[in-house]
């Protein structure tokens, strides 16, 4: 019976087995697809520098994350912490912990400012990324951040992540082995 149901020829653009869904237009996909991978291939046109980023940051971010990214009541620190990850008081920030600079672009673009996500222009996002990388001493003040330069930025903790080795504790029950 299923075969009979499935045999009906689907309409153009519909799924082959159940005949549901429609093909999105390339423009639709473009407007939805905000994913930025580590190779940066989806990064949009535009560019920014720390000096422009500072201006946007002061207006849109500083209230929560502190005037220089040091953190505040409503937003975590975005700067500092290098050299603390193997100490009893690790400080995990964009500068000390994040392995990829592209993540910063992706996250600010989709999620910040917290109280008005998705409200920044691409140019503003590039500029904010440049400013936060500069504050963390990762790029120079004058460096231009764009779709070509951002994936090249090497984050200090790029090699800081390892795959899941578990089970690492939780002795295997002996009775199972018999």
């Amino acid at each position: 019976m299923l075969a009979a149901i499935l045999a009906a020829t689907p309409l153009m653009g519909q799924s082959p087995n159940y005949g549901v869904g429609r093909s999105p237009t390339p423009e639709e996909i473009k407007s939805w697809d905000i994913s930025i991978g580590p190779d940066g291939r989806e990064l949009p046109p535009g560019e920014g520098r720390a000096v422009e980023g500072k201006e946007v940051y002061t207006r849109r971010c500083a209230d929560c994350h502190g005037s220089e990214g040091q953190g505040g009541d409503q937003g975590e620190a975005l700067v500092g912490g290098e050299g603390t990850l193997d100490t009893p008081k690790p400080v995990k920030t964009v500068g000390s912990y994040w392995p990829y600079a592209t993540t910063l672009w992706d996250y600010i673009n989709r999620a910040m400012p917290f109280d008005s996500p998705g409200s920044l222009t691409h140019k503003q996002v590039y500029a904010l990324v440049a400013y936060l990388l500069y504050l963390n001493g990762i790029i120079e003040e004058e460096e231009v951040i764009n779709a070509q330069t951002l994936p090249q930025v090497r984050m200090p903790n790029r090699e800081g992540f390892v795959p899941d080795p578990r089970p690492d504790v939780g002795r295997t029950d002996q009775s199972q082995k018999n």
């Binding site: 994913s35 580590p38 690790p90 392995p99 993540t103 917290f114 992540f161 002795r171």
Partner: protein
């Protein structure tokens, strides 16, 4: 952002079980020791009751609620399931924990779409109406936030709602993700998917294609009705056994890609920093864990006598094979009984009849799953992973019952 005063709402840790023990006429007879059952008389109402209603409410005598401790940015935060008041294995949808990163969006299902694209032969957009027409599956699974019990590493908390409440178990109904993926035709170079929500922050996670093709459900119903807004209405992922954050709510888009996209929620957060400064990443599976829900922190046993020790066990790797309980500080262990049937990757209820003689005791539970993995002690976990991670804690919990009947987290 506007002023927001932090609100600390007391958790509902008055166990209903204890109320029963104090007032239950039937039980009082059995227990003997239990005082004052009051006078029993034929006191039923002699008036008409309420008429049938369109949507049910619980009795106004029931007060159990989720625990919320609101921060200055409460839209990024949790509420916790009142496990101390739980029965059986299912969590009522109304009491199921929440964890959001930018609040609960309001979504009109007639306007909601799911886009599947990327490395696929035929990108497609589905309406909710279309998804509801497809062959459906129903499964009982737990969901646990990987930050559940996160404070047990360093600063253990007083009640089971606060130690373990980012945990729930529901019957989820929806469509197999693999069905939709075969409709779009995943290309061979696609090794991961990115799942993205329609909430303010468009929360997204990278998930290996192998898992996507295995047993993930795109769910639209929870416990027999549409998923609630705070659980992802109208559509969410259920990723059996994996950390809660991967169960993307308000699902709007799936992109097939060749590599993980290293989003903020899989780099900055939900990674486990080890003492050597390296962090474990993509620590997806929630390992076997159990906890006694009665008696538990801040309960007060009214006096010596019979009690049923009960609790929950679960494993992201499958079925719970056994649960053992120690009432002597971990020296000896006895097998608890299960509520059957047990379901893989679901909460499993265990029970053990117990007579408390009134002395100080420490109660512990530990579980073993079908892979033979044994829930570790807190000490073993800290020994192996240090104290710099807040995630994936599954150590044994110890509740100390004092001679006055009060119960505390022995590690607090």
């Amino acid at each position: 952002m506007k002023d927001r005063t932090a609100k600390d709402q007391p958790d509902s840790s008055k166990p209903s079980r204890r109320r029963f023990l104090k007032s239950g006429a039937v039980l009082a007879g059995v227990l003997g020791a239990c005082a004052d059952s009051g006078n029993v008389s034929d006191s039923g109402p002699r008036t008409l009751g309420d008429i049938p209603s369109p949507y049910g409410q619980r009795s106004t005598y029931e007060k159990s609620v989720r625990y919320t401790h609101l921060s200055d940015t409460p839209e990024a935060g949790p509420s916790r399931t009142p496990l101390q008041d739980s029965y059986g294995i299912l969590t009522p949808s109304s009491l199921h924990f929440e964890r959001h990163h930018s609040g609960v969006p309001t979504i009109d299902p007639s306007q909601h779409h799911l886009l599947i694209h990327g490395m696929v032969d035929r990108p497609l957009v589905f309406t909710m109406e279309e998804i509801l027409r497809l062959p459906s599956v129903s499964r009982i699974h737990f969901i646990e936030c990987s930050g559940n019990s996160g404070r047990e590493w360093t600063t253990p908390e007083p009640t089971v709602q606060r130690t373990h409440g980012m945990l729930g178990c529901s019957e989820w109904t929806g469509v197999s993700l693999s069905l939709l993926l075969s409709e779009v035709g995943v290309q061979s170079e696609a090794k991961w998917i990115i799942a993205e929500g329609a909430d303010g922050c468009k929360l997204h996670r990278s998930i290996p294609m192998e898992k996507a093709m295995d047993n993930i459900v795109i769910a639209y119903a929870q416990n027999g009705e549409a998923i609630r807004p705070e659980q992802g209405y109208p559509l969410r992922l259920v990723v059996p056994g994996w950390e809660g954050n991967t169960h993307v709510k308000w699902l709007r888009r799936i992109k097939a890609v060749d590599q993980p996209y290293m989003g903020r929620e899989e780099t900055s957060k939900y990674t486990d920093l080890m003492p050597d400064g390296k962090a474990r990443q993509f620590t997806f599976v929630m390992e076997a864990k159990s906890v006694i829900t009665f008696p538990s922190g801040r309960d007060k046993l009214p006096g010596p006598g019979f009690y049923e020790i009960t609790g929950l066990a679960w494993s992201g790797r499958g079925l719970i094979k056994s649960v053992e309980i120690s009432i002597d500080g971990g020296q000896s262990w006895q097998e608890a009984q299960f509520q059957e049937p047990r379901h893989p990757v679901a909460l499993t209820r265990f029970r053990l009849p117990w007579r408390w003689e009134g002395q100080e005791v420490t109660l512990r539970s530990r579980c073993i799953d079908e892979t033979g993995y044994v829930q570790p002690s807190r000490e073993a976990l800290i020994e192996a992973r240090g104290l710099n991670t807040r995630y994936h804690y599954n150590g044994i919990t110890a509740w100390r019952v004092s001679s006055d009947g009060s119960v505390q987290n022995a590690y607090a």
